[in-house]
Amino acid sequence: MPSAQDLVDKFTDIKTLPHVAIRVTQMAGSDTATMQDFEQVIKLDPVLVIRLLRLVNSPYFGLSSQVESIAKAVVFIGMKHLRNIVAVEGLRNFFTAKEKEAEFSRKNLWVHSATVAILAQMISRRIFGEDGEDVFLAGIIHDIGLIVEDQLVGESLRRVCTTYLAAGQQEIMTDIEDNIIGTNHAKVGRLLAASWHLPEEVVEAIRFHHRGDREYPLPSVIGILQLAEFMACKMNYGVVNDRCDPLPPYLNTHLKNRMAEYKVLLKALPAEMAKARELYDADQEK
């Protein structure tokens, strides 16, 4: 059975996050990077420049003035936000659908990832009053391990999905993956994220997003990610139909205590998703 590292090594031979995206991620975490550095790096990929400017000017950011340069985008939305859009752009082509998609669909996974990312950022903003840039990144990237598994051990992944659907509600997907594949998408995703130099908190969130045995006092990236994941699955934006891991008890308590607030938040989700459509909808280009 392959280890997580085996899968990551094999996968990076086939597909890699564009160099530009990795550089941008590194720069976003640096104190010495300037808008000029961003501009220089991103300019290397002219298509990316056009896509980025289009996204920055989309309703999701609600900027009052037109942004026509990367440097200006850095000024208006900040480095971390720009990093997130670059990541979305870089990841988009990982999720291109394959022909036969029954138990597991990359397209669904992309919509799931986008929903989790948007929900997570909404929770950050509306419940905790934080901007949630890292939370968004964690959301968009948290299931990247599934893509790796689909690419390399697709048949096994499909068996995992079938087993998962048939299993009891308390069964956790990663445990089934461990049994059938030998590793799981959280481990794989964590290695991949670390190799892309994502922020430590994001890497840890990817690693533990299916684990409920430890508490991460809110607003932690992982706590918010798990809340968002739970709600997305419950609202039919899940990975494997509407199967959903149970929430860890401390998050359950949190959700119960602030139910009224979360209800209001969820009512605003469709509007937010519509605004962010350009962000995750690949068909938008046509």
Binding site: D31, T32, T34, M35, Q36, V74, V75, F76, G78, M79, R125, R126, I127, F128, G129, E130, D131, F230, M231, K234, M235, N236, P246, N252, L255, K256, M259, A260, E261, Y262, K263, V264, L265, L266, K267, P270
Partner: protein, 486 residues
């Protein structure tokens, strides 16, 4: 959508929280009435009317589902039951009140009371939700404002960084420029020094170079006088011709070196312009005839009297230009023109022009030909010969006279070289033979052996005037015999 949201909270507590909230609020407004809410999902909030038969309840509920306002029903025990569909809550509200039991359709006051009570309750519930929404909105505004501050800070930080980088860059640029400037200056100084040393050397070599050359020319001339076989004579003549042209080359180089070393000074004396031109014309007459060229000299009739100037250098300039014209023209016209440009009491500006109908010079080469060792193009040298020094010397001489050579040329049609110099007028008679000539020319008068051989050479050459070498003419000058090389 609401179902989906309910899904999220399905596992948490009961899904009837909203109904319970509403019930509590309604009960607060209508404390006397007994209120029950029946949710579409089967939830029941509030105490159900104990006397109400289940089938009757169903009838009321299904009627209420259709109606838009309260419906009233008289119960078997004489009380009234009022029902209202609450679409937003997916529920039906039943109100039973002993005291106010009456048909609402008949009692509009009571209907209004109930209506308003329910509306108030709904508004209160909505108000709670609005409070939450407001809270979230203000949190989002906080996020935006703190992000704004953060962006400002970050942009300021970037601004400082960029400024710092620019300063560093400017500093680096400055020092780099200073370093390169110094390097260039040093290189320039050493080049100038090298060039000066070379020119000094050449200028000083003048005598040392010319003396042996003259010995070779002289003795090969003498040798030609002795009895020789035909073959020997041919050899000797070849030596003579070759050394004469070598001497021309050496003289050119030495002249140039002298000018560059700043050692050449003009020697202005009174001279006669017509005489000067006549001399030049005589020099080229036979060569022109050989190449089938018409050669003419013309002086503006307005030019009269004598001038003060360095006659030898003016002649050298004209001979060089005319020699060039001759070299590049075949079966054409070559002319020297002198015109008056300006005149005042003391001086006159004269324009000298040497024109030909030769091969001409392409525009892009017109500047380069005045540089040392350069001709209009590389192939010219192979075809027409020449060292490429003549024009360099000429232009240096002209600039010594505070003027500049102008060139007008059309390839294939010919060229005109011209310059304007200002000469002082004089009434003094010109020396019949300028003394400067003797001083400047390569005088073979230093040592006795050379004089003994120079004499016959000169006599021999003057005896045979039919074809004098263009650039090597004998002169008698103030009693000293020498050879002037133009």
């Amino acid at each position: 959508m609401d179902d989906l949201i309910a899904n999220v909270f399905a596992g948490l507590a009961d899904g009837d929280e909203e109904l319970r909230d509403l019930h509590a609020v309604l009960q607060e407004i209508l404390p006397e009435a007994s209120l029950v809410l029946y949710g579409d999902n089967g939830a029941v909030v509030g105490a159900p009317a104990p006397r109400l038969a289940a089938d009757l309840l169903d009838v009321v509920r299904s009627q209420a589902l259709e109606a838009e306002s309260f419906i009233s029903m008289l119960l078997p025990d004489d009380g009234w039951l009022h029902a209202l569909r609450l679409q937003d809550y997916q529920a039906v509200l039943l109100i039973q009140s002993g005291e106010l039991g009456e048909d609402l359709a008949r009692n509009s006051h009571l209907a209004l009371l109930y209506d308003n009570s329910v509306r108030l309750a709904l508004l209160r519930c909505q108000y709670q939700q609005s409070v939450i929404e407001n809270e979230q909105l203000s949190r989002r505004m906080e996020v935006v404002s703190s992000k704004h501050t953060r962006l400002l800070d970050d942009n300021h930080r970037q601004f400082l960084l960029i400024r710092e980088k620019e300063k560093e860059y400017a500093k680096k640029l400055e020092s780099e420029i200073a370093r390169q400037t110094k390097q260039l200056r040093d290189a320039n100084t050493s080049l100038e020094e090298a060039s000066r040393l070379k020119s000094d050397f050449l200028a000083n070599m003048s005598h040392e170079l010319r003396t042996p050359m003259n010995a070779i020319i002289g003795f090969s001339g003498l040798l030609a006088e002795t009895e020789l076989t035909g073959e020997q004579r041919e050899f000797v003549e070849t030596i003579g011709r070759a050394s004469a042209s070598l001497l021309v080359l050496i003289n050119d180089i030495l002249d140039l070196a002298k000018i560059e070393a700043g050692k050449l000074e003009l020697d202005p004396r009174p001279f006669q312009l017509a005489g000067l031109l006549k001399g030049v014309e005589a020099m080229f007459r036979s060569q022109a005839a050989r190449k089938g060229n018409r050669f003419s000299c013309r002086i503006d009739p307005a030019i009269t009297g004598n001038f003060i100037g360095d006659e030898n250098r003016i002649r050298q300039i004209l001979v060089n230009l005319a020699g060039n014209a001759m070299k590049f023209t075949c079966k054409g016209d070559i002319g020297i023109r002198v015109e008056k440009v300006r005149e005042d009491e003391r001086s006159m500006d004269l324009r000298f022009a040497v024109s030909d109908t030769g091969i001409g010079i392409p525009v892009e080469r017109q500047k380069a030909i005045f540089e040392k060792f350069t001709q209009a193009d590389g192939s010219t040298t192979r075809k027409y010969g020449g060292t490429g020094l003549g024009l360099a010397i000429t232009s240096q001489l002209v600039s010594l006279m505070n003027s500049e050579i102008e060139l007008a040329s059309i390839p294939g049609q010919g060229s005109t070289f011209g310059f304007v110099i200002s000469l002082a007028k004089t009434t003094e008679e010109a020396d019949s033979m300028p003394a400067a000539l003797a001083a400047e020319s390569a005088v073979l008068a230093d040592s006795a052996p050379e004089r003994t051989m120079a004499q016959p050479v000169q006599e021999e050459v003057s005896a045979d005037r039919k074809s004098p070498p263009t650039d090597c003419r004998p002169w008698k000058c103030c009693g000293t015999t020498g050879m002037i090389l133009c």
